[in-house]
């Protein structure tokens, strides 16, 4: 079971880890990379324990601007895939 739902704006970018992070109750950090977010991944895991959180975000905010623009005129296709 997901420990919590956390909005991406409540997560902190950690340069060293190159990941968005949020405190884990074990003392370590839940982590998710930009690459994961681009793929639509919504689970941020803690490297020290079994817990994970669900990240609430808009996947379109993380897609590359370049590849995003040409598609924009015809916006019928859903971006997220289960």
């Amino acid at each position: 079971m997901s420990y919590d739902d956390v909005e991406i704006e409540d997560m902190e970018w950690n340069n060293e880890l190159q990941a968005y992070t949020y405190p884990c109750p074990c003392g370590d950090l839940f982590q998710i990379t930009k690459e994961d977010l681009k793929l639509g991944e919504e689970i941020a895991r803690c490297p020290s324990c079994s817990l994970y959180i669900t990240v609430v975000y808009n996947v379109e905010d993380f897609l590359d601007k370049k590849s995003n623009k040409p598609i924009e005129p015809s916006k019928q296709q859903p971006v997220t895939v289960a």
Binding site: D10, P23, P25, C26, G27, D28, S48, L51
Partner: protein, 412 residues
Amino acid sequence: MEEYDGMELRELENEEGKIVKHEEEEEGREQEIWSWGAGTDGQLGTGRLQDELLPQLLHFTSLSSAGPISFLACGGAHVLALTSGGKVLTWGRGTSGQLGHSDTVNSPHPKLVMSLNNYFITHVSAGWNHSGFVSDTGALFTCGDGTFGQLGHGDYRLHCYPVEVSFFASSSKHVEQIACGMRHSLVLLRGGSGDEVYGFGSGKRGQLGIAKDKINLVSLPERSCGFEGVKIASITANGDHSAALSADGHLYTWGRGFGGTLSAQMPQRLPTSFRFTKIALGWNHALVLTGGEVFMFGGSHHGVLSNPDKMTPVKHSADSREVVLEKVPGLEGSRTLHIAAGAEHSAIVTENGVLKTWGWGEHGQLGLGNISDQTSPQEVSLSHKFRKEAGLIEIYCGSGFTIAVRTLCRPS
């Protein structure tokens, strides 16, 4: 080397090999500090960077020479130890400067906070990655992560040694207590016209209690509402929760709701006839002490008494803001003296000196020798050197770890 009831004491190979015991010869008392649980940032003070499933007795001369420990504050992965002589030792994670040693590195063993040496410190609190210190002159110092304004200096920077919060320095009122949560801080002020509570840092869940509207970040202290004319005994913060106990035993909570209840932007007095003497906050639960009995609210996560069959609901309410108080089972027959809460675990000490833990156990934070969760209180064994030794135990929890301070009264 001595063995304590079969538990081997691992001596460290560095120069600090002395067992942590402060002996007050004239009173025949000595103090032991035991730690267990998550330890990879050095928060157990053992000198090792690993989790411990059983209580470990600490062995440092820096502790034993500093004098008896009167109070501990445990944060996300660091510890502040206050001595009866007003000095502060810190250890554990220091990557945000929260240890106050003028650097940003972890310390696996206790070190004196040198920059506070000219002050007599009377109260300390440890948040996720920040720390607060109150002096006997009513001054407040903070250090560590300031990303959310939780240091109260009017900026969002990290400070790696304790810096006085100038907002209170200019006030005629004395700071009495500090309470540090995940990303916020509360301060209790005493003065002629009554007690005041201030908040700063992240206010997204209402944990600052400073306005009815949603607040994002506040980097300078602002006064919390709803305490006019109320005498406050203590303030507490953990996770995104805030709480205050009044001198007459009323409990006020604000911030993130418990057990699926809504967040409260303003302090709410718990509508109950109970009078409380202590409160301990976790990230999703709270323990309260009333008449020697322990009640809990929230706590649907990770075995923090999650078994509904074992609970005795005392109050159910249709109002989604009101919490449900539930009596903790398995503590009958003996009054509870101390309570403590980690992020997802709980600990209590009874009047008979029995230490019990329950909740999330994945890192050994329950001290039971395994990583199982427990839905009801289980007794933790601290080894005894002498038989029938009378001991007073105080208990403290960090996010994923636990520390017990035992004062032994040797029969003379």
